[in-house]
């Protein structure tokens, strides 16, 4: 469809979370919590309980009984759970690219990015961490949401549902947010086709880990077109009419690989994580590959 203003609307500009997604999110968070507990247990057995232990707090119904400090229970008659370093201090920041090009794909790249962002932040919250979500909002200004408690989960979902793929917001504006400087872990979600690796990797270091998730739509990763096509950039409306053949597809694939390889190489060189995801991938796979 051709928009009246000459721009081609992206496939889906909105973020929508279905009932099924909520159920999947709950399962994902539960698995993340369970895995964290097991890993903590293994680390505790290997290194001794005292290494990771930062303190105690009262037990909340439903918590993993393996975290229960049985000694304190016997001594005080009150259930207390151990508080580990990660629970106490992990500060996760998720940078979400919401430029118009993120609306490309079915489901859109933004949809997957939003699902991954929620999954990571909810998993972090379940493990005692806190999250800062960053994205462009109305008028291109930077908006954030701080997820510090389980009570704020619903609000974080609502905040995420207000994200729309529109405009041409600069990633640099998000990356310069001071909230990122306090984060231990920064996850950047976007197609990043108009960003430079160095721009993102400046965040790395000083105990801060950067994980880059480059999300591309199927038609961007492996276009299935032949013949005439008019490619349109939904961010600026620029277009290019091409007669696409097999050779053109090969050349395109090569050029795209070159760009992606630059990101991979740059991140690897700085000891950071780079992932490539297709927009129709399951968020569990993408977020699971990042989850520490």
């Amino acid at each position: 469809m051709r928009a009246e203003d000459g721009l081609v609307p992206a496939d889906s500009a909105r973020v929508e979370f279905s009932t099924e997604f909520h159920a999947r999110l709950e399962r994902f968070v539960a698995r993340a919590r369970s895995r964290a507990s097991r890993e903590d247990g293994r680390r505790g057995a290997a290194r001794g309980q005292g290494v990771e232990l930062e303190g105690h707090r009262p037990y909340r119904a439903g918590e993993d009984l393996r975290d229960l400090d049985w000694e304190l229970l016997a001594r005080l008659g009150q259930p207390w759970v151990r508080v580990r370093r990660a629970e106490q201090g992990e500060r996760l920041a998720v940078v979400l690219d919401t430029s118009a090009s993120m609306g490309v794909g079915a489901p859109s790249k933004l949809q997957l990015a939003a699902e991954v962002a929620l999954a990571l932040s909810c998993a972090s919250l379940a493990n005692g961490g806190r999250s800062l979500l960053l994205a462009h909002g109305e008028g291109g200004r930077v908006e954030n949401f701080s997820l510090r408690s389980a009570n704020a989960r619903a609000a974080s979902i609502a905040w995420m549902e207000k994200r729309m793929a529109r405009g041409a917001g600069r990633l640099g504006d998000l990356l310069s947010d001071p909230g990122l400087r306090r984060a231990h872990r920064v996850v950047v979600l976007g197609d990043l086709m108009d960003a430079e690796p160095a721009e993102v990797l400046t965040l790395a270091g000083w105990g801060r880990r950067v994980e880059v998730v480059q999300i591309l739509a199927e038609r961007e990763l492996a276009p299935q077109v032949t013949g005439g096509v008019e490619w349109v950039d939904p961010e600026v409306g620029a277009s290019l009419q091409l007669a696409v053949g097999e050779r053109a597809l090969r050349e395109y694939g090569h050029a795209l690989d070159t760009r992606l390889e630059r990101w991979r190489t740059a991140c690897r060189g700085r000891g950071q994580v780079h992932r490539l995801a297709r927009s129709d991938a399951a968020f569990e796979d993408v977020a699971g590959a990042l989850e520490p």
Binding site: M1, R2, V8, P9, A10, D11, S101, M102, G103, V104, K109, D191, M193, D194, L216, A217, R219, E220, V225, G227, G228, V229, E230, W231, V232, D233, P234, E235, A238, S239, L240, Q241, L242, A243, V244, G245, R247, A248, R250, E251, Y252, A255, L256, R259
Partner: protein, 371 residues
């Protein structure tokens, strides 16, 4: 200017228009949004792929569209306008009587108004006199509405009696045989109809001075007294209603006295008082009929012959053609055939239909060849 037998068929021109739009839309490549436009630009710049030219529809499509246009035009039936609407040639009588003002405006004005009402097609105007005619004008020259200088007489109608010619006059000395006629004037129709030389006289009036004068006039003019119901030129009838009153009417050498009925002037036809007193008409003439108020028993004193001649003069002027003649204010219209077409009527529908078929075939052939 081209005219069409079925102008509504031109609406079918929307079909090729829609087809053209559809073809143009079909030629436009599908749109696809992408976040990797820069990558495609890079590929395009390396000449791995040629930027696609937004081509016009192929020749076969143009041929098809042209064929559809030709078919639509053929349906509408185009033709040259002269093939059907040959103008009437209006011959205008500019003799002095045409400028008489006896019915609101001149007779020419009224005749022109009648002409435009009756013949709303294209016309050309010629003014004619007895021995000359002007050039033709496509518009009526407004200066003709004013009486001309010089000696203008009634045209020689016999030389102008042809199909497609229309006489515009107030009276014509002869009835047209092939030409058409619009005549507006006092005597408009009198001379163009066969004269009915028959009359009716109320027998009651026979012994009266008026009756005797009518009988003398009829005998002198060769009028036959009607004894049957066939049309007559004049009926002289005694009024049967109206209050009786004494009267006395004086002519130059005669005096008529006695009693008479009061006559009512008819509203639906022109009438004229032939004999009258200060108290009203004694004889009222209208087309084809005299109403007589003079009652039997009235006496004529003085010169009998003078009275008879006076009556005969009035009969001469008024009786001729009163039978079924038109009222003074009404025109006489006798429209014949318009002028024959100047050239045979020619339709281009067949030509366009053939062209349409040829273009359709060309379109198919080009399509087969991939053009």
């Amino acid at each position: 200017m081209i005219e069409f037998d079925s102008p509504l068929a031109l609406a079918t021109l929307v079909v090729p228009f829609v087809v053209a739009l559809a073809l143009l839309a079909a030629r436009r490549p599908p749109l696809a949004s992408t976040g990797t436009l820069e990558v495609w630009r890079e590929v395009s710049a390396e000449a791995a792929v040629q930027p696609r030219r937004r081509g016009a529809p192929p020749l076969s499509a143009w041929a098809l569209i042209a064929g559809l246009c030709a078919a639509s035009l053929a349906l509408a039936g185009p033709r040259l306008p002269s093939a059907r609407n040959a103008p009437w040639r209006v011959v205008v009588d500019r003799s002095p009587s045409m400028y008489e003002r006896d019915g609101g405006g001149t007779r020419l004005d009224r005749a022109l108004a009648t002409l435009r009402e009756q013949v709303p097609t294209s016309l050309e105007y010629v003014a004619a006199s007895a021995d000359f005619a002007t050039a033709a004008f496509s518009e009526f020259p407004e200066e003709w509405r004013r009486a001309p200088a010089g000696d203008w007489r009634e045209p020689d109608w016999s030389a102008l009696d042809d199909v497609g010619v229309l006489w515009l006059t107030d009276t014509a000395s002869r009835a047209p045989e092939r030409a058409s006629l619009i005549a507006v004037g006092r005597d408009s129709a009198s001379s163009v109809r066969p004269q009915l030389r028959r009359f009716v006289l109320d027998p009651v009036l026979d012994p009266t001075p008026l009756g005797r004068a009518v009988l003398a006039w009829a005998e002198a003019r060769g009028y036959e007294r009607a004894t049957d119901a066939r049309p007559v030129a004049l009926s002289v009838l005694l009024a049967t209603s109206g209050a009786e009153r004494p009267m006395r009417c004086e002519g130059g050498a005669w005096t008529l006295s006695g009693s008479a009925r009061r006559l009512e002037v008819p509203l639906d036809a022109p009438s004229e008082a032939l004999l009258s007193t200060e108290d009203g008409a004694l004889v009222l003439a209208r087309p084809g009929r005299w109403d007589v108020g003079l009652l039997p028993g009235c006496r004529l004193e003085g010169d009998d012959l003078a009275f008879a001649l006076d009556v005969a003069g009035k009969l001469d002027r008024a009786a001729v053609g009163y039978e079924d003649s038109t009222p003074l204010s009404a025109p006489t219209i006798a429209l014949g055939s318009p002028a024959p077409p100047s050239r045979p009527q020619r339709s281009y529908a067949a030509l366009l239909a053939t062209l349409s078929a040829l273009l359709a075939g060309l379109s198919l052939a080009l399509r087969e060849r991939g053009a």
